[in-house]
Every structure is written in structure tokens, then in C-alpha cells.
């Protein structure tokens, strides 16, 4: 039974060892490996949170559709003839077969091949062969595709599988301001380009959330990127990790488990005309932060945006030790072709199944997973960096602790 109990709260809290004064934050390796916790995550996190699904630019015209598995569920995302974007469970209302089996395209209608029930691109059931065999209680108008709760923020489409959860804007909390700061830089709007990287790792999904906001590992795990690719291909001096982020804002939680890190741009100085214009538009401090620093935003539970590389990254657990990862390139709509080429290179050189960094991240997370499945429950994982510092640095772990505190809270509580 999924009921609220102090016992449950205690058993989840017991996975953590936290001592604020001593600067200690640790958790049991069980959080990465316990199948019972994965079931809890499905019910308490993925079935109740707002999950990034798609970008409006991926369905620009009437009839454009995508099929995508989000939070473990097959969805149909379609822009209707009326221009409105809707999300449906990709399941025929008759017997439950998947209605649309294409990855993307443009369609007026969707037909289930089992018995040819047909839906229009607003999800209405418009064709049932042999309809005269149904009784008076059968109303075709009741049998449109089952809609999922959706909302969008500045082109980012989210889904929430609970009708009870708070609305999207409340859910985004302080992350909204960071998203604004990122998206305001694309003055002509932003769009997801084709070529999403769809890969996987034999490791727990939460490791990816931590790894993506981990600056501390750049010079070790990504040594080959920093000390071969940067200097020998791009002609850049790798930043000194001791001083690289002096002056950067401290990493922080943004409410509801969202978190951010901000760090100095590797290279490139903004032109003064742009700086002046942005200072006038956004205020001096904000404009300087936008131009001189770059951010990685963690949206609880399973979405990340790495501003420097312009990737929207999402993940979903197939098992405690198996995670699907997808990276979508989000680029400015209005872009100088030379700059666009550079952006794509910044993206591809680091990210993806054949990038110069992602395989090494996968490797380390898979090594952690192998240990976590077999370590004693009290062989705690450490996440304490910067905990007693009045101003934690990007290479500290405050951002991960924000994620974990929310996880602990949500997994520890009863049904909302």
C-alpha cells in the first residue's frame, strides 16, 4: 500500500547521512541500485512531475507530429489543423494498440491498423468500421485519443501524468528565471535541430543528473578533451581548474529540486555593441552574466540544459542500472552560418555516443553502478564538497545536494 507513514519517511532518511555543521552529505549506494526505489521513483517522481517532452519548433505546422516515450509512456505529440499542440497517449481507444508508429511526420489522420479506427490530428475519433454494432451508450465523441496533461514554457513542451500536481509555472519555481536568462539570448527564438542523440548507459539515471552539473570532473574524466582537443584542434588554452571560475555565481537550488551551475565561458568575448544593448535591455549585471558566463540548468527530475553546448538532455530509467539518454540540439533560429557551424562543433565534439566526452562519462557511471549493486548499504557515497563554504564554487556539489534533498523529500512522502 502506498500510504503515508513515518516509517517510510524514516527508511528513506536512513539512506542519507547529513551533518550540516560538519559539512557532510552522504547517501547509501542503494539509491542507485534498489529496484524497490525505482518503483517508488516511477510513482512518486515520474508520474507526478512535469517532464520535458518536446520543443514546439519540432512540430511547426498543422498536422506535424512526433512520437516519443516520455516518463516511460508512449506519447503522440501533434499540432492539430487548428494550430494547437496536443499530447495523447499513443494508444487506440478500442483495444489499446499503438496508433502512430512513425517517429515524426505530417498527417491529417491517424489510423490504428488493428480494426482501422481512425482519429484526426486533434485526436477526435472520426472513423469506426461497422459502427452500427454498438449500442446507444457508445458515443464516438467520447472516444477520442486519451489526452495527457500538457503545458509549455517558451516553446518547451512538458507533460504531467498527474491531474493533481501543481501547474507548470509553479513547478518550475526559480528555474523559470534561469530559463528566461538562457532563452532571452536567442533574440529570434530557438529551435531544436534534427539529429537527436539517442543512446543509453548501464547506470542509474540519477548519476547522469549529477554528472551533467559536475564541474569537478572536467579536468580528470575529460582530460582528453581538455588537453588534446581544446589546444590541438581549437588552439585554446585549457582553463586552470583552480581559477577558472573565480567570480562565478555559486551553484544553487532553484526550488522543487531544480538547480543550476554557472561558470566562465571558455573563450570568446562579446562585442561591445551587443553588451551595451543587452545591458540596456536586461540590466547591467544580468547582461554581463549572460555574456561572460554560461550555465547548466537541472530541471527536476530528468531534464538538463547545458547552455554552452546547447543540449537539452533527458533521461529515463529502464531499470536501476539501465538508462535511456536523449540529447536534443537547441539552436538560435537566427544565427550567422559561421557561428552556427561553431555551435554544432562545440556540441558534437563533446557530446553524444561518439563525442570526445560522453563515452568517458558513460564509462565512469557504469563503473559506479557495478560497485553500487554490490557495496554494503552503509558504504556511503560522498556528496559533501563546498558544504561549509559560505560561497560554494561551481566545482562544488551544492547543486547535486539540491537535487538529492528533493528526491529524498518526494520519495519519503506519501501520495500527494
Amino acid at each position: 500500500m502506498d500510504t503515508h507513514s513515518p516509517h517510510r519517511r524514516n527508511s528513506v532518511d536512513a539512506l542519507f547521512a547529513e551533518d550540516e555543521a560538519a559539512g557532510i552529505f552522504r547517501f547509501s549506494p542503494k539509491v542507485y541500485s534498489d529496484p524497490a526505489l525505482l518503483r517508488d521513483e516511477q510513482q512518486r517522481i515520474f508520474d507526478r512531475s512535469w517532464l520535458y517532452t518536446a520543443h514546439e519548433s519540432e512540430v511547426p505546422n498543422a498536422g506535424d507530429f512526433l512520437t516519443r516515450r516520455v516518463g516511460g509512456r508512449p506519447l503522440l505529440i501533434v499540432r492539430g489543423a487548428d494550430g494547437k499542440i496536443r499530447l495523447f497517449h499513443n494508444s487506440c481507444r478500442h483495444r489499446g494498440a499503438m496508433v502512430c508508429r512513425e517517429r515524426s511526420g505530417t498527417a491529417k489522420n491517424f489510423q490504428c491498423f488493428y480494426h482501422y479506427w481512425t482519429y484526426d490530428n486533434a485526436g477526435r475519433l472520426i472513423g469506426v468500421p461497422g459502427q452500427d454494432s454498438y449500442g446507444p451508450g457508445f458515443a464516438q465523441s467520447d472516444m477520442g485519443l486519451y489526452a495527457a496533461r500538457t503545458d509549455s514554457y517558451r516553446g518547451w513542451i512538458f507533460v504531467c501524468f498527474s491531474r493533481e500536481s501543481m501547474g507548470l509555472v509553479d513547478y518550475l519555481a526559480g528555474a523559470r528565471d534561469l530559463l528566461d536568462m538562457i532563452l532571452d539570448q536567442d533574440e529570434g527564438g530557438s529551435a531544436v535541430l534534427p539529429g537527436a542523440h539517442e543512446y543509453s548507459m548501464r547506470a542509474n539515471w540519477k548519476m547522469l543528473m549529477e554528472n551533467t552539473v559536475d564541474i569537478y570532473h572536467l579536468n580528470s574524466t575529460h582530460s582528453r578533451f581538455m588537453y588534446d582537443y581544446l589546444p590541438h584542434v581549437l588552439g585554446l588554452t585549457p582553463p586552470d581548474p583552480r581559477t577558472a571560475n573565480d567570480g562565478a555565481m555559486s551553484p544553487k537550488g532553484l526550488g522543487n529540486g531544480h538547480a543550476m551551475i554557472e561558470y566562465k565561458k571558455f573563450s570568446g568575448v562579446a562585442d561591445e555593441a551587443k553588451r551595451k544593448a543587452w545591458q540596456a535591455k536586461f540590466g547591467e549585471d544580468r547582461a554581463n552574466r549572460m555574456l561572460d558566463y554560461t550555465r547548466t540548468l537541472l530541471l527536476f527530475p530528468n531534464t538538463l540544459f547545458i547552455e554552452q553546448r546547447r543540449v537539452i538532455r533527458t533521461c529515463f530509467p529502464l531499470a536501476p542500472d539501465h538508462t535511456e539518454v536523449t540529447g536534443y540540439p537547441l539552436m538560435p533560429v537566427v544565427d550567422d552560418p559561421a557561428v552556427r557551424k561553431q555551435r554544432l562543433d562545440i556540441y558534437l565534439s563533446f557530446l553524444g555516443p561518439a563525442g570526445f566526452a560522453t563515452p568517458d562519462d558513460n564509462e565512469v557511471m557504469e563503473l559506479i553502478q557495478k560497485n553500487c549493486a554490490t557495496l554494503p548499504d552503509d558504504a556511503m557515497i560522498d556528496c559533501s564538497r563546498g558544504m561549509t563554504s559560505p560561497a560554494p564554487k561551481p566545482q562544488d556539489e551544492a547543486q547535486m545536494r539540491a537535487f538529492w534533498r528533493q528526491w529524498r523529500e518526494v520519495i519519503g512522502q506519501g501520495p500527494a
Binding site: 543512446y199 554544432l344 555516443p353
Partner: protein, 165 residues
Amino acid sequence: MLSVADTVLLRREIETFLYEEAELLDSWRLTEWAELFTEDAISRAPALDDAARDPDNSIFLVNDDLPRIKSRARQLLGDTAWAENPRSQTRRLITNVRVTAIEGDAVRATANFLVQRCRMERIITYVGQYRYKLVRHQASFKIAERIVLLAQDTLRSQGVMSIIV
């Protein structure tokens, strides 16, 4: 227009070249492998859902020019390409070699491949088609284009592609 005999001979030459290239990759002689490319070479693996896209307006899996080809080889031979340290054992089966066009000094050819990779008790396979543009160089060829078309819809089952496929 080549005679049948010349076409067979050319295909044999290309097969020999591809087998030698495969041996360099399987035996991790990556510095020599990188030397097979022309100065203006491209080495690409397009997105799996559409091989025909423009690499300047979409994301590929691999989009290397010569400096990146050389960097990739150096990185993999160094000791901090952690995903390949220790290294994978690989074997490539190359078949169905076809000459598809002759363009002056250059030959276009396709071949099917199956690359098996074994590392840390896990066996992973990559299957697909190579598309080459080869240019005459001394008694052999140099690679002007090397396109890897994987015959699969995602890389979910393999995880990543940390080796040169």
C-alpha cells in the same frame, strides 16, 4: 566505361585497401590509420534517422575533418580515453564491396560492415554500410570521404560508440 575485367580489378584493389584499413583499426594502429586520409578529408557518421542531412544544420554522430580525425586517433591512443582504457577488442567483417562511381582520379565505393567490439565482458556490434571516396595515391589510395551509415534506428542497445567504427 571500364571493361568487366578492369572493374573486377578495381574492386579487388579497393577490397585490399579496405581490408588493410580494417586491420589498422582492429590492431589499434591509429596513427597509421589517420595517415590514410587526404588533407581535405571528411569522416562522418550521419544521424541514424536520415543520412542525407546537411551537417551544418543538423547534428551528426561524427563529423570530423583531418585535425579531428588525428585528434580522435591521438586521444584513443593516449591513456585518458577512459571509455577505451582498457581498449576494446574489435574485429571488422567487410563485405559486399561495390564500386559505385568513377570521378576522374577518384573512386566511390560502398561496403557493408559488421564491427564486433568486446570490452569488460560485454559484446557490442555495429552493422551498416561504408561509403568511401578514394583517391589514387602511389600504388594505393587515400581516403577523401569516409561515411559510416549505421543500419539501426538508435544507439540504445549499444550505449555509445567509443571506438572508430
